[in-house]
Symmetry: C2
């Protein structure tokens, strides 16, 4: 039996620990060198929504930005796990219209908006959620545009064997530095193929996403990923939404980083090359799949890597050490992240 | 650092594990003998709502059933983490009225009904949830009756130093076989004191709750706990609600067992004495606090103890091996409980 991953965060009730979240962390550079981590940094994980920037690349590589006059909001929404707020829903609709599609063409299924006030407002009006409210609607709408642009069948775009999905898989494999045949595929929450790869490879993929240039990379690919990063940093609201860590975190970075959550406790961060150094990617997985400790764990890792400016740490206190409150709003506990990452003797990340 | 508890359940996506839930389990008899378990069965845990039957005892010990003409539904609701469905809300109101109280006297705070359709219906009508919808409203209403009956101040009933809360703490300590001074106290989700004790002591408390007779126990206490168990088994809907494992599980037991969930992944089961043997208590805690694997873990433990009838196991397939479905309702994975409990050389449970 594999060794248990270490505790990354503890949930206190009063002065005592009530629950704990374990997980594994990988920190890597664009060469695929593992710079640090804890637990098994090569553990196989499903990328879930951390793959979205790579799933959006084929559309932009093929010239989708010009062809459909896409702006920051639209490109950012394609990379989003959005809250289903009215602006998200309108933007998803606008992407669809540019390809002559409607919500009925989306294969993602409907779920209530993740943004609670928007969900309540929908319920108050007696309306049912549609596929546009699905947190993945932007990604799906972008894939439909890619089908239009590349003259691929749109009805079957979500099938694992569809040429667009094969192209996406090849893109992710390339940036993760993993042979395509090693990427196991399952079905995601939104019915698209979801990929499984070593956590260290996901970290390396985010380092590459943020890198200035990559050896052997073709120009359209380099332009596509730079455009995606720019859209996410210019339009962080579209990447998640109101009151969401990812949105506030990207906004606070002002171009220095991006962050992206995935279901089941996955998170990935890409740090842009600093004046002194190179791009760095971070990926972690909460073993139990909980999103609860994710924000605090992200900030603790950045802090330990010396990449979290003091003013951001202060402004993000509510994310870094979340209070546990009860039904009357009384503070009854807190969440404390303490991630035992260690710098490692650099070695190649697992392929 | 304490050894990591073992994995109790795995969450699969396709054929591969995506997430895992660890935890500790204790199985004990009414003498406090530990019969089996895994992880650290003496780990200190907050009981959360598994304490509710014991929190209700003082009211019944003092003659509350007769004084307020309480029926199964009302007593069961006092031991409930209910869904806030209309029947629950009405019953909570009826308990309150019997003592001349209203919802304004409840200290539990308001939250949206746990039962989703009831929450949606409330939102559709534009109504806000009240303290009656709080899953703990029955317990709180019962405490107000106890104050009325015992002539204690009602306004401060939720304070840890209140005479009723001190009586409750003594009751739980007695049934758990733990010195009262060892019961650490914090604040629960509903603002009441919540108690911390060894998991093995919680298991023993549930064995005692279901026992025929206990040495040295006074008659009113014995009658009170028998009445509580009868109410829970006669009125399982009130203990949880529609589509809830605890309700269906208690109903399927037809008097042979009770089960009660607590927040943060706690669960306790009391097995009535079988023709062959004695009462048994089971308690477990999911380390990460998740409720997700709880039903499957409960059934797996009972099955391994040889206490789950084949027909119940078959009827409970959806609880025993829950399917993971996505936004389109496609089955994309499953949860598999595999609890490595071992029978142990019997020893005294930790005091």
């Amino acid at each position: 039996m594999a060794k248990a991953p270490p505790i990354l965060a503890r949930v206190f009730r009063g002065p005592r620990v009530e629950s704990a979240h374990r997980g594994m962390v990988a920190v890597a550079d664009a060469r695929g060198t593992l710079l640090g981590g804890c637990g098994d940094p090569d553990a196989a994980v499903y990328t879930r929504s951390t793959a979205k920037p790579f799933q959006t690349m084929p559309l932009l590589e093929a010239g989708g930005e010009k062809a459909f006059r896409l702006g920051d909001d639209e490109i950012a929404l394609m990379c989003a796990s959005h809250g289903g707020e009215p602006r998200h829903v309108r933007t998803a609709g606008s992407i669809l219209r540019k390809g002559g599609f409607t919500a009925a063409d989306l294969a993602c299924g409907a779920h209530a908006p993740m943004h609670e006030a928007s969900a309540r407002e929908l319920a108050r009006r007696g309306d049912s959620p549609t596929a546009l409210h699905n947190n993945c609607s932007g990604k799906h709408a972008g894939m439909l545009l890619a089908c239009r642009l590349l003259d691929l069948p749109a009805a079957s775009y979500a099938e694992p064997g569809h040429p667009l999905q094969r192209r996406i898989r090849a893109t992710l494999a390339r940036y993760a530095g993993v042979p395509e045949s090693d990427l196991a595929v399952a079905v995601d929450g939104c019915s698209l193929p979801v990929f499984r790869l070593p956590l260290s490879a996901l970290a390396a993929a985010y380092a590459r996403l943020l890198s200035a240039r990559l050896p052997g990379e073709e120009r359209p690919a380099a332009a596509a990923r730079a455009r995606i990063v720019r859209a996410m940093t210019q339009s962080p609201f579209m990447v998640a939404g109101s009151g969401r860590f990812t949105t506030d975190f990207i906004a606070a970075g002002r171009g220095r980083w991006i962050g992206k959550e995935g279901a089941e406790g996955v998170y990935a961060v890409g740090l842009a090359p600093s004046s002194a150094g190179k791009a760095v990617g971070i990926a972690f997985k909460i073993e139990d799949g909980s999103a609860r400790p994710r924000d605090a764990v992200t900030l603790d890792i950045l802090s330990r890597l010396g990449r979290l400016p003091q003013e951001t740490r202060r402004a993000f206190a509510a994310y870094a050490e979340p209070r546990v409150t009860n039904a009357r709003g009384l503070e009854v506990g807190r969440i404390e992240a303490e991630v035992p990452i260690s710098a490692r003797a650099p070695r190649k990340a697992k392929r």
